[in-house]
Amino acid sequence: MSPRAYSDQSRGMPALERLPEWTPEVDARLARVGIWVWIGADVTFFAAWFFAFFYLRALNNNNDWMAAGVTHPTRAIGAAIFLLFAISAGLFWVGARSVVSQRATALIFFWLALAAGIACFVVQIYEFRNLGFDPQMGGGYPSVFIGMKGAWLIQVVGSMLWLASNIAQTKPNGDVTVRPASATFFGYFLVFLAGIGLISYVVLYFV
């Protein structure tokens, strides 16, 4: 190749019809790497909450980690919350794999996933309203319980909105149909969130 300084003549050259970073392959790559980095960031976000849990539990200042009258909420409800979201994540994951080949089936899976997610949200709100303890009355455990569950719930709501938008785009020439990668790797995030749900279930209800 001849050494050729890049000069103004090179402007106005006809563009190649597409630059590589616009291809579906690159799109998929961006989605994959991006979602992994984002999950990593979210891991540290929740790690802080788990650190708070175990740190305060170990310190047990003023013997007030579990203030008088504070007990673990019903495990069944906690299990229901976690399972509903796990189902939602799983359904979406499965649907996203076949979104190109059988779009109709995928759509059904997506709708079911959304329903499960909303149910999870409803049950969580119900649990918040019937906790049996009031964070105002002190205690480390109630604080961490409210905080960790709340932080998780906010991300659940956000991901459900995004899931709904995926449903809307699962149509001929819709974004999901054209770029299935976006749905696939969003599925990764849902599964990760379900995993956090499982850990927090074990920690908050059994430890």
Partner: protein
């Protein structure tokens, strides 16, 4: 390594050696606080002195190199020629890393030895809790004067559990004695800083934070708060702390007990949990 390289290096080396010697000599003349009122402040002064001496040649070397290259390695006026294409010298890099590492480990060793103390040790070289000993060293030993520092917004008060838990406005310590200072707070975070004693320890609600001091000379010292604690943080100063002779201390504390200062005080505790359970009540 061409000849030019060698000449430049030689010049720099000589200049650096000469200047460093001068610098070190000067650095050794500098008298650094916090002074010698206690064993701990004496050792802190020595450590600061040592660090100053160690870092002087480093400082001189770097500044010398910057100035030298700024003048010796200039582009000719109006010219635009490239320098030699040196891409790196593995041996030099390894050597540099090794040297810095050695310095770092020497300093860290000094610091750790300062923190090290046997559980029976009397003279700690740092006022912080001994890191390599079981926690709460000597908090029960009879040969140590136990003093509690109670930080509150915005004043330090002091209790002497061995004397009926009397409480005082100022910190008075006997000379030539090993003191264990228990720092705690009744509201938010403060930091107990007895400057001339070389003692600093945060005061946290519900925590008994230990500091150790061995008084060597009589004289007054300043106590102030070193952690932002609200509007009067800057005013949380007491210049009336004092190290006094054993006899003076005995008479002072006796008078304090006679004054009945303990009549309204609660029993002595290692720390006090401030009350309100719900905010605002």
């Amino acid at each position: 390594m061409s000849r030019t390289d060698r000449t430049h290096a030689l010049r720099l080396l000589v200049a650096w050696a000469v200047l460093s010697v001068i610098g070190v000599v000067i650095a050794m003349q500098v008298h650094l606080p916090p002074g010698n009122q206690s064993q701990q402040s004496t050792d802190t002064t020595g450590l600061l002195q040592l660090m100053l001496v160690i870092s002087t040649p480093v400082f001189i070397g770097v500044v010398l190199f910057i100035l030298y290259s700024a003048f010796a390695f200039r582009q000719k006026a109006g010219a635009l020629e490239d320098g030699p294409a040196y891409h790196g010298n593995f041996r030099l890099q390894v050597a540099w890393v090794a040297i810095t590492a050695v310095i770092v480990f020497i300093l860290a060793g000094l610091g750790i030895s300062g923190l090290a103390a046997t559980s029976s040790g009397t003279n700690f070289t740092s006022s912080t809790q001994p890191a390599l000993a079981t926690a709460s060293v000597g908090t029960t030993a009879a040969d140590r004067l136990q003093v509690q520092v109670i930080a509150q917004q915005w004043y330090f008060t002091y209790r002497y559990p061995a004397y009926g838990g009397v409480e005082s406005l100022h910190l008075i310590l006997p000379v030539d004695s090993n003191v264990v200072i228990h720092v705690t707070s009744t509201d938010i975070i403060h930091s107990f800083w007895a400057y001339q004693l070389g003692v600093k320890a945060d005061a946290n609600p519900g925590v008994d934070n230990l500091a150790y001091v061995t008084t060597l000379h009589t004289g007054s010292f300043t106590v102030r708060c070193a952690e932002l604690c609200g509007i009067w943080h800057g005013n949380m100063v007491d210049t009336n702390g004092a190290v006094v002779s054993q006899a003076d201390f005995a008479t002072w504390i006796a008078g304090l007990q006679k004054a009945g200062a303990t009549q309204v005080l609660p029993p002595y505790q290692p720390f006090y949990f401030p009350s309100p359970r719900v905010k605002g009540t």
